[in-house]
Symmetry: D3
Subunit: 298 residues, 6 copies
Amino acid sequence: MFYHDGKLQYTVSVERPNPQFAKLLQQAIGGVEGEIRVCLQYLFQAWNSRGPKKYRDMLMETGTEEIAHIEMLATAVAMNLEGSSMALKEEMAQGNPMVESILGGRDPRHILSAGLGAMAADSNGVPFNGSWVVSTGNIASDMYANVHAEASGRVLATRLYEMTDDAGMKDMLAFLIARDTMHQNQWLAVLEELGGTSINLPVPNSFPESRQINEFAYSFIKTGINNPDSQSDKGRWAMGPSIDGKGTFHVRLAQPMGQEPSLAATDPTVHVQVQQMTEGSMKTESFIEKAKDFITGH
Amino acid sequence: MFYHDGKLQYTVSVERPNPQFAKLLQQAIGGVEGEIRVCLQYLFQAWNSRGPKKYRDMLMETGTEEIAHIEMLATAVAMNLEGSSMALKEEMAQGNPMVESILGGRDPRHILSAGLGAMAADSNGVPFNGSWVVSTGNIASDMYANVHAEASGRVLATRLYEMTDDAGMKDMLAFLIARDTMHQNQWLAVLEELGGTSINLPVPNSFPESRQINEFAYSFIKTGINNPDSQSDKGRWAMGPSIDGKGTFHVRLAQPMGQEPSLAATDPTVHVQVQQMTEGSMKTESFIEKAKDFITGH
Amino acid sequence: MFYHDGKLQYTVSVERPNPQFAKLLQQAIGGVEGEIRVCLQYLFQAWNSRGPKKYRDMLMETGTEEIAHIEMLATAVAMNLEGSSMALKEEMAQGNPMVESILGGRDPRHILSAGLGAMAADSNGVPFNGSWVVSTGNIASDMYANVHAEASGRVLATRLYEMTDDAGMKDMLAFLIARDTMHQNQWLAVLEELGGTSINLPVPNSFPESRQINEFAYSFIKTGINNPDSQSDKGRWAMGPSIDGKGTFHVRLAQPMGQEPSLAATDPTVHVQVQQMTEGSMKTESFIEKAKDFITGH
Amino acid sequence: MFYHDGKLQYTVSVERPNPQFAKLLQQAIGGVEGEIRVCLQYLFQAWNSRGPKKYRDMLMETGTEEIAHIEMLATAVAMNLEGSSMALKEEMAQGNPMVESILGGRDPRHILSAGLGAMAADSNGVPFNGSWVVSTGNIASDMYANVHAEASGRVLATRLYEMTDDAGMKDMLAFLIARDTMHQNQWLAVLEELGGTSINLPVPNSFPESRQINEFAYSFIKTGINNPDSQSDKGRWAMGPSIDGKGTFHVRLAQPMGQEPSLAATDPTVHVQVQQMTEGSMKTESFIEKAKDFITGH
Amino acid sequence: MFYHDGKLQYTVSVERPNPQFAKLLQQAIGGVEGEIRVCLQYLFQAWNSRGPKKYRDMLMETGTEEIAHIEMLATAVAMNLEGSSMALKEEMAQGNPMVESILGGRDPRHILSAGLGAMAADSNGVPFNGSWVVSTGNIASDMYANVHAEASGRVLATRLYEMTDDAGMKDMLAFLIARDTMHQNQWLAVLEELGGTSINLPVPNSFPESRQINEFAYSFIKTGINNPDSQSDKGRWAMGPSIDGKGTFHVRLAQPMGQEPSLAATDPTVHVQVQQMTEGSMKTESFIEKAKDFITGH
Amino acid sequence: MFYHDGKLQYTVSVERPNPQFAKLLQQAIGGVEGEIRVCLQYLFQAWNSRGPKKYRDMLMETGTEEIAHIEMLATAVAMNLEGSSMALKEEMAQGNPMVESILGGRDPRHILSAGLGAMAADSNGVPFNGSWVVSTGNIASDMYANVHAEASGRVLATRLYEMTDDAGMKDMLAFLIARDTMHQNQWLAVLEELGGTSINLPVPNSFPESRQINEFAYSFIKTGINNPDSQSDKGRWAMGPSIDGKGTFHVRLAQPMGQEPSLAATDPTVHVQVQQMTEGSMKTESFIEKAKDFITGH
């Protein structure tokens, strides 16, 4: 169960409201790198957790913290949408003739739909999408997703930091950037605790390795041709022991090991063109005809 | 530029076509864990790469390999949609009365829209979405995204492996599972080559750490209350040196450091209800009124 | 800022896990009528609130309560995905020949993607979409959105209640149904407090009614023709004082008051077919040509 | 069946075409508050109506009227995209050096995709989404959805009205604003006719109230803590008879009545990490293993 | 402006309601091949039409007809959702033990969300998407879109026809199939009237052909390698005069004519990893730094 | 299987980087008219092809070529995002006061999310959507989809061509425009080879025409009323032999041939309002009640 105290986790202040920056901040709220995503991601991972208990408990803590980050950013958006008339008035006083570009760089829905408030959307107005919420049940897979989420989130926050000189906004972002530092470390700490790459990899480590076709489990496959300058095999991934310690990296030129596909002719009841139905290849029977008969009791 | 040779990277065979399994395989084609995603993700990372050259070259190799994986899976879907009338016929011969459930577990669009072929959609028919393609420009962030993509992809492939006893399908999946092993190792090899966590973290490592509010960069914040049994601080993330070696993990109880938000009253031209406009808080001027005047030349 | 105590708001128990019911429950988590929507909706309305303060405070309370409802339902999904092998085993023991339908009615991603956990998606696996989160800034408009959200949410919960006989699930739903009763009353209480329909309508009530074309503000317009049996004007909306008390309902037959549209010919640089460019109607100049010249400095 | 007469319901004229305003108008066509949504919403409610007949008849009338509103707005978009070269020419004559912002505030797809025409998308180019079409079958729930749709639609129209001084556009919007007034009244008239809140609430009113957990049906639950200044319980929703007349509002402090969730360990065949499989909690049997056996005939 | 008469364009009857078939019919309502798409597509093409007038007039006729097709199909869905309890009762009477599959093949939202009515979604419950509505302004491009829409629509309708033996449903589909025949012919008649392929191609025909790189305008480019059995150049597209009569088809082996891409190093303010910033390639200046300075008045 | 050589199909050069043009180019990458769509569309059509073999072989060639087009455009986007600081610096030197519009016309995610790289999205940042990938299995239907895809793609490319004076960009677009010419001809060549309209139409030509209701297969239905000036029947579609040669075009006034729909009353367990349940029309039995009993073993 959840509670709130009505205050922000960290101060949010805006020296000079800027509706363009409000638009950019939306990326950190409803974008794929944003806080709604990490909030739901950690909470769903917690709620779906089937043990050990300490990981569930820990995910709950941080998932709950992230709600407060959405709150801070939504507040920052709303504050950046205030008082913007001031700047406009100054510009107008200077008689700027370029009348049609005044809304350039703003999100029109901040006015039209949200009445000067924040939305569950990214910086282009594309709505938050639940498909971004990762919770696979496999803790190593989820931790790598979480590290990436915090890495791309911190990259985003530093880019936002560079795009403003508003001291209030820089301060708020400097706090969020610090939290992203912790969270990157936090998810990697889980992986370390679980044994590091030599134990965790390949994810999932519960699938017997003997069942994979091991011959290809440590081959770097070159699909490049006619490209003598390519440096694709000049890296760590092409030689030496594999990161999981279970194989040796080596290079293999791509070559087909499979057949040229040849599908059976289509069932006539899916109504392709008659020219596509060549007598010889009609090796399947009619699926739909039968399904229909079955459904309708024939 | 790209070329093909019309053959499959690895043999795809189906002993007994199963339209239900065709539906499940769609997750590995057009799902968030699927091959269209990793294919476009590695190719966009390559195309957007601004150096060093060897990473671009390497990403191109693997991005190109993934097209062949989509090809294998699409072929597997098409093959699983063949000949299914056989099984139906047997069941019908046994006079199964449950006529309405015969299509249960199948994707109706495999017949209606695709004419017994594969689609760019997941196992529920939800279309592939370009927002899943991660290419941030920051190579550490992208490598963690790639490790997760291959981890969740391998988890998916092992689950599909468990859900079939078709020897052909198991063989194909065993190959793909091996490739996912390599690719997990491959992306982690890049991170190792770039210096490992002590160099790469926090991502981005090009943002001066002095600018983040360091006091909160290594704190595990407990948002839990009234929960004495919680084990949330019983892990590696709560004590000891941080993973990046730049701080020491410690625990902090959540408490607000920010204000209770109080936004300025809304501009009257956004047309909230009159009851919302309380005289005292009307500290903003009319933004839209001004924007309108400006746009229309008043 | 937000806190949690790790316990559920109300007991969640499942007598007999049912993966089909897990699929149905997803509608109440990530569907348009679901709890993620109302949770974010009330929180965004609170965060965007520009007064009076008591409405912000009140919205925060209920938005926070809704997180606990997502938590209960996610837990219920995870519990319904457990132990289902029991039922399967029994059926198998009976030699059911209809082997292909065993997954019918289940969400395959509950296994493939979520590892027997809940997802941020609806009962068809369609992801939650941020466009459903309504926060217009106008409190009357938002309250009507909220009443509908709770009405459709309660309708959904009662339908789920009818589809299970599991005593645990029925008890959980009976609790949620009661909360939806309160929340419907709660949002209507705000509207009453703000003066009821005579004050609030038409929403927004801050737009001078003299500026709307009043002649059509209380007309029921009949677009039906040749339909003598129609009862469309036999209701309260066709006669008597309007609900807002500011007009009188009356009926009007639909008839066009506007012109037949005739658009200017297209600019040649948008490259329609030459046959579409009829000399006579070329009254516009070339927009793109000019835009291009301007952009490129010509 | 449907007919048209090729004329507009109300005059659409544009004094000075403005491609920025064309972009804003898209919100009223393909946005969540727009006319495609209400058009389809009322028509689907009519088509799905199972009585009484007069409501179906009435919904058909208004659903059909809304097609004409889409038509008016699409025409307005197309007209606002004409002749815009004029303004550009003037600006160019003044040697404006800010060449890169000339497309700011325009929707690039109005040129690139639509060739100076309207699209089925919102003001950010996000496509119309069918999930917005509400038709629950429960008339009270649907009427509240309709009131909100018309309230947010009228709010949007008044905001658009404020953002233009074009007399033609203002006249068109003044007409649409008047129609929204009628439609708000119309849907509330249905609710009044059906007995008002004392009869309709809680929606659905066909679920026996004795089956809900009545103890929580009229409680305002405070999830706020440590916030003495909160005014969340200073409203109508916290005291007095409930709006439906079936209970008395009262305040309750949030406290967990449920357990701390503890899920059964995951089935090994979903391939979590081995470290997640702790012997003691393995109380479930293998679901997938069994499903597989069953599917494949083992 | 639009009108309706409350009757169906063609009789809709259902002999034996079938909720599975209701699910399949959804593809013809809200799917990419469905009637909402063609309805909006033709109406938007009409509303955006800038001449000649007869095409606008004609598109309005057919766009309006398509509303009646949505109406017929929505009615068919609602009728197929009735009375299904009969079939269930029979099955139950036979003691079918496979209790979990009874909802297999049904759309759960037909009950949960729509209360036994139709929805604006496809057969998998994926919502209608406005991006499918094609209106480019170029009439030849649009007519080919329309031919495809009617071709895939007729293919869908014939597949639905095959999957039912309900005489009522077959009769309704036979009518819709006939209308699709007309509409395919109708759109091709426009292309014929505009001069056929020799005049219309390449679309757009208003772009001076001298500006395209003509050398590649009639080359079939073979990207296949090592595939001697390929028949890819054994068709009409590889030899003889081109369809537009403006060139001669010929075959060309794919070979790169462009450079190996080498992008400038990234601006440091986008915060890639420091290891990506190699001194030598730093040829760009800092864009964001400058943008920031500019925005913030430095 | 697929290969690459690391070089571009055709030279991509940019004289003067323009981040606005980068945004416009995104439409050609991830838009509905873009290259990801055609690439996947042709590849899926090839992979799903069930004969004749030469069509599969041919589709593979062109699908593979299209990957190179995505590559060219992604490179062009990345190049247009370089060095843009130059232009900004000049403008700043001129003291342009309109500080808020500097990002107008740019995609903020090019900086925030992609770090100056290309994305799998359109020019408004709306992600690529897999629903656009057409592969019906019917070759005539698919070829018309392909002609449209190349027609709208060439229209888009010519519009982009008009919007830049950058010689490098014009050269690249001139190449792509030529390829679109070939591809339009190519898909029509398939249709010619398959017998042209007289053989292919109506698509699918494998459905016995006697089963459609032939009386309506060649009627142009006028839904327009009260519109004497309409020219809707003044075209080729209203008279003369049909394009497929199987009928004669003629005009029919729209009139309903079907009934006024009257649905059975709703099952009480879907919980409509009690006022909707009128005794007389309760002809259906309770579906859900029965389903529930069945599921739960009652």
